[in-house]
Structures are given as C-alpha cells and as structure tokens.
C-alpha cells in the first residue's frame, strides 16, 4: 500500500530514533500519519525517562505492525491521539503543581 505519508512518517521516526530505522509494515504507517514521530518527541519529557518511553512506544507499535483491518487501524490511531492528549495533560499538571508548590502559599 503505497502512501505519500509513509515517507514523511519514516523520516520523522528516523529523526528521533538515534539513526536506527525499524522495519515496519506499510499498512499501519499508511494510516498512522505522524504518530510515531509525534509520540516519540513527546516521550522526551516522560517522568520515567525518554529511554523507557522509547522502549514502550516501540513495543506498542511492533505489537500492531501487521494489522490490516482499516477499522482496527482507525481505532489504534485514535488511541495514539488519546495518548498524546494524556501526555500533554500530564506534563502540564506536573509543571503547574511544581510551580504552585514552590511559589505559592498552601491554601488552607
């Protein structure tokens, strides 16, 4: 399944994974858009460390690499989007709470 996005996706993933290109099935990436790159980029700030995040991300994508059912792919991509939103919320809350704790009086 050739897709103009596939090149973009691979480039983005490659950019962020220390030069090592992981072999991937075309079907998942065709619909995957820029998720791998986006998720990997978000993983830099993960509390347990970027390396831990990268491992888990790779595992999650590899587990589903042979998926061909368009419906299932749509669901997986939706889950990817959801994870992105969760991570952004996590990062914001952590930072907000740290700032609040350091700079403001505790509210009684």
């Amino acid at each position: 399944m050739a897709n103009p996005l596939k090149g973009e996706v691979i480039r983005l993933y490659k950019t962020w994974v220390a030069g090592k290109l992981v072999p991937i099935s075309s079907s998942i990436w065709a619909r995957g858009g820029v998720h791998p790159g986006q998720l990997l980029y978000l993983g830099r700030e993960y509390p347990k460390g970027a390396a831990y995040f990268r491992e888990r991300l790779k595992f999650a994508f590899m587990k589903n690499k042979d998926e061909t059912d368009p419906e299932k792919i749509k669901q997986l991509v939706a889950r990817g989007d959801h994870v992105i939103k969760e991570l952004e919320a996590l990062y914001f809350l952590r930072k907000y709470r740290a700032m609040k704790k350091r700079y403001y009086e505790p509210e009684n």
Binding site: L12, V34, G37, Q38, Y41, L42, P47, E88, Y91, F92, R94, K95, Y96, A98, M99, K100, R102, Y103, Y104
Partner: protein
C-alpha cells in the same frame, strides 16, 4: 527565557561558584511560557497584529525561541550573549535590552514571565517598565486589552487587585494567567520557516556590565534526620525536650 528545566535536580559546583549547567536539560522558563501563550492568545483574538519572541543568551537560546514560534509567535529575535557576559547577565542587563528592542520594534505590549525559576529575581518586567517610563501590570492573572488601554487583574497578598493602565505597557505573567499550549512536533516543524533575527547587545547600544558579583552559591541546609519514637509518651517527652510543647 532559557533556564534549567524545572524537573532537574540542581547541583552546586564543587567550588561553590554556581550551579552545574553543562549537559543539563534546559527549557523555557515556565512563567515565560505563560507569557508567550498570552501574547499568542491576544493575536488569535485579533487584538494585536504580531507576536515577537525575544531571548537573550548563547546559541542554545534559539531552541527556546523556536518553542515560542511553535506556540504561535510570528518571528524571533535572538540577542547573542555568551561566555562571561552570559554568566553575569541579569535583570538589569536584560531590561536594558528589552527597552532598546521595544523602542526599535515600536512594541505596544511587552509580556514577560513574572520571574525566572533560576534566579527568582522578579525584577526584569519592573525594570523594563521603569527604563521605558511605561506603566506596568505585574503578577497578571487576567489581561483584557481594550483599544489603547489594558485592564489587569493582579495577584497580590491577600487577594486580587484590578488596575487599568494605558498602552504601551509592560505585563508580567503569573501562574493562573492561562494554560500554555504544548509545542507539538508538527508545529515545531512549521515554525522552522519563521525567521529569527540575530542581534548583538552592542548593536542596541546596551552595556552589559554587571553591578553584582556572585560571591558564593551553597545548597540549602540538609534536612536533619527524623527520629522514630515507639509510643505517644515518647513523642510527648521528645517534644517537651525540644521545647516544642
């Protein structure tokens, strides 16, 4: 501005001359993120025409400007300060730079974070306003721009204060002003097309000489080890010993 990331555990250099910065993760000062967000929001509401992100520092400051561009700023200005000048760069020098740039760019509003989480000075906004003889709305938790004036709700001890000041003005952002958007990868990619101008402080006629000298940096005192007690009576006895009850 670029500071050591808030989540990093700070280490003091063995010679107590400062903190370790080499190889340490840096990011945009959290209060500056809020300032950038507010500026971008004003542009989205079509209340301002253009948002210019400014950072003073070494080459790496460009990363911080890129983040601001990814959040929605239109262009950036990187004021190059490195080496010894950067080590002694403080609110006085930065505010002189900001004042010079504000005049050059004919800015209507300067929005800064209320303080940097590294030096905790909380002075740059105030000094900039003083140098420009502009009104200031500091510790802003709410900003409403209305033609040639701006209503600012300020966080103060014991509550909130609402003031109205004319533009051009300087505002400093407090924690509750807004929720900064995350600079996503696609936006960072798009932001690469936006321009960052390079400027030297000398070009702006700014003298970076510091009037301060850091004598020593020390870690906070270690918390004393806690003591374990077996019974309530023990606890009361120990508290009495320590003069606490």
């Amino acid at each position: 501005m670029r500071v050591i990331d808030y989540a990093v555990k700070i280490r003091v250099k063995p010679d107590n001359s400062g903190v370790v910065t080499d190889g340490v993760k840096h990011s945009m000062n959290p209060f500056c993120e809020i300032a950038v967000e507010e500026a971008v929001k004003l542009k989205e509401k079509k209340l301002v025409k253009e948002v210019v992100a400014v950072s003073c520092g070494p080459q790496q400051s460009q990363e911080t400007i890129r983040t601001a561009l990814a959040m929605g700023a239109d262009r950036g200005i990187h004021v190059e300060v490195s080496g010894k000048d950067y080590e002694s760069l403080g609110p006085l020098q930065v505010s002189k730079i900001m004042a010079a740039l504000a005049k050059k760019e004919e800015a209507q509003l300067i929005i800064l974070g209320k303080q940097a989480i590294d030096d905790d000075c909380n002075q740059t906004g105030q000094m900039t306003a003083a140098l420009l003889d502009w009104p200031q709305g500091t510790f802003a938790s709410e900003v409403s721009l209305d033609g040639d004036n701006v209503k600012v709700v300020r966080e103060i001890d014991g509550g909130l204060e609402t003031i109205r000041i004319n533009t051009p003005a300087v505002l400093t952002a407090d924690l509750r002003l807004n929720t900064p958007r995350y600079a996503t990868l696609p936006n960072i990619m798009k932001a690469k097309k936006k321009k960052i101008a390079n400027v030297k402080p000398a070009d702006l006629g700014v003298d970076l000489t510091s009037r301060l000298e850091v004598l020593r940096v020390d870690e906070p005192p270690q918390r004393l080890a806690g003591m374990k007690v077996e019974t309530v009576e023990d606890l009361v006895a120990k508290l009495k010993d320590a003069g606490r009850v």
